[in-house]
Amino acid sequence: MHPARQLLIAALRWASGVLVAGLLAALLLYAAPGATVDEREIDPALGERTRARLRAEAGARPDFVSYYAGFLQSALRGDLGTSRAYHLPVTQLIGERWSLTAAAVAEGLAAAWALGLAGALLSAGSRWASPPFTAFSVLLLCLPSGLLAIAFFLARLPVAGILAAAVFPKIYQYLRNLLDQAARAPHCLAARARGIGPLRLLLLHRAWPLWPEAVTLAGVTVSTAIGAAIPTEALCDVPGLGQLAWKSALARDLPLLVALTIAVAAVTLGVNSVASVAAAAGGGRRWRS
């Protein structure tokens, strides 16, 4: 398929994915228990007439289609609503905090990929390196990210390290499996039969052809790292988007939570779309060559 066509399809999939996420989010806001109740109704400072007006305002809702259309229009204007807990525009809250989370996720992913790639290559190249890396990755896989956050906090290790620890096992195990499969592939057997050295065989014939799969995995790991950021930021008191999501969940601040969900969906779907296009282009070139 032509790269431009692939890009167009990826962009359409991304847009429709965000629309579906928006639809589900709007449905959640519309149908959540207590959605028609304004918490100011229990404010003793307000009079009966004001409370009746609030009840009337909350009760007079349009049908869901009109509601979703209005929701989309506001979102396209950059208005994602107002936080019920913070009484501030949601875009402002997200704007103030996204850079902290993005930095932590980027650092965590960089560390996880460096360790995962090195571990997979070492394990594939030497039988002695495999047991410690495998044991370490299985141990990390068996711990919830919240517990990792507590352990790292006690050890005074950086926040990005927690995200790296949450992502590393997935990278290591996936790449390790791919490298093992590649070792049994006909082109590797042929290369070995021709007397190519083990290092060259590992790097050029086993590892290098796997880069499209690695790019696809990179897209998936962004989602994993963002997921791990919630307990990490909540427990380590980092004022990023993860902590914001946690606090908004505890306060049942649905407009904020829904906006965060759409933002996360847009980012993760975007990253996955780019990764898929890159992987497809790389895969096509690999098989043509």
């Binding site: 299985v138 517990l147 507590i150 993760t268």
Partner: protein, 269 residues
């Protein structure tokens, strides 16, 4: 059976036995208070000490083990059933409808499970009775944890549908419904069993994360997640290592599930 698998099965057997025999191991129950000894260190009367309210930590741990180990498979059963239906439907419906369903899987898969969990958990009332919170937590896990499995089921159905035996069955005049019921569904059984086994540790970890964040099972009912929430008090943790017992139990259980299921389907990653 490999040694790792035997070890995993033995470990799970012990943990399930502890959960089943929780009433025998801790006949006082998980909510009984020893008000004379709050925050006590381990003693012969309280092997893992007591919490701030004087409740026996061992009793809470074994009852929490029962909750987590028996309800995570229930949630996994819900998710596997949903995955089977959605994956099967996306593979057998018309091409466009299948693509729409796959897009829905992709959207759900792209969102981190924990994000979805806390969003939907927050959409439901937070101040609920303990048993309701338990039901909500594990039902949400079951309702949200199926998309990855659905994609695998879809791939398995598509692969079986295009296989030689299916082609021969079609050529022999077998109608679609019979082809699916008699030939394709039995081939899905190992795939579904593998997905079920893989989802259990995922849901145990999901419940633990929700509990640590204070959005899981509410007091006084114990689960591994709600017991791990007590680790929030980090300052005293190094001097009271017995408080890490729920973390060790969780780690052992997930490890045992990985070891026991290592022959089924894909690797844990």
């Amino acid at each position: 059976m490999t040694a790792a698998r035997k070890l995993g099965c033995a470990g799970l057997g012990l943990l399930y036995a502890a959960g089943l025999l929780a009433d025998l191991i801790a006949p006082g129950g998980y909510a009984a208070q020893d008000r004379d000894h709050p925050s006590a260190r381990p003693t012969p009367a309280h092997w893992l000490g007591t919490d701030e309210l004087g409740r026996d930590r061992l009793a809470r741990l074994v009852h929490g083990t029962r909750v987590s180990l028996f309800l995570a498979p229930a949630a996994a059963a819900i998710a596997t059933a949903l995955a089977a239906v959605a994956g099967f439907a996306s593979a057998v419906v018309a091409r466009r409808a299948g693509q729409v369903l796959t897009l829905a899987f992709d959207v759900l898969l792209s969102l981190p499970l924990l994000f979805l969990l806390i969003t939907l958990r927050a959409a439901l009332p937070l101040q609920v009775p303990p048993w309701t919170s338990l039901l909500i937590t594990f039902t949400l896990l079951g309702l949200l944890g199926w998309p990855s499995s659905a994609r695998i089921v879809r791939a398995a159905v598509l692969s079986s549908r295009d296989s030689n035996y299916a082609l021969q069955a079609r050529a022999a005049g077998l109608v679609h419904s019979r082809l699916f019921a008699v030939h394709l569904l039995p081939h899905l059984r190992p795939v579904l069993a593998a997905q079920f086994l893989l989802l259990i540790p995922v849901f145990i970890l999901g419940e633990a994360n929700l509990g640590i964040l204070g959005l899981g099972v509410v007091e006084p009912l114990p689960s591994w997640g709600s017991l791990l929430a007590e680790l929030h008090n980090l300052d005293t943790l190094p001097s009271e290592p017995w408080r890490t017992a729920p973390a060790l139990a969780l780690l052992s259980a997930v490890l045992c599930f990985h070891l026991a299921g290592s022959r089924h389907g894909e690797s844990p990653a």
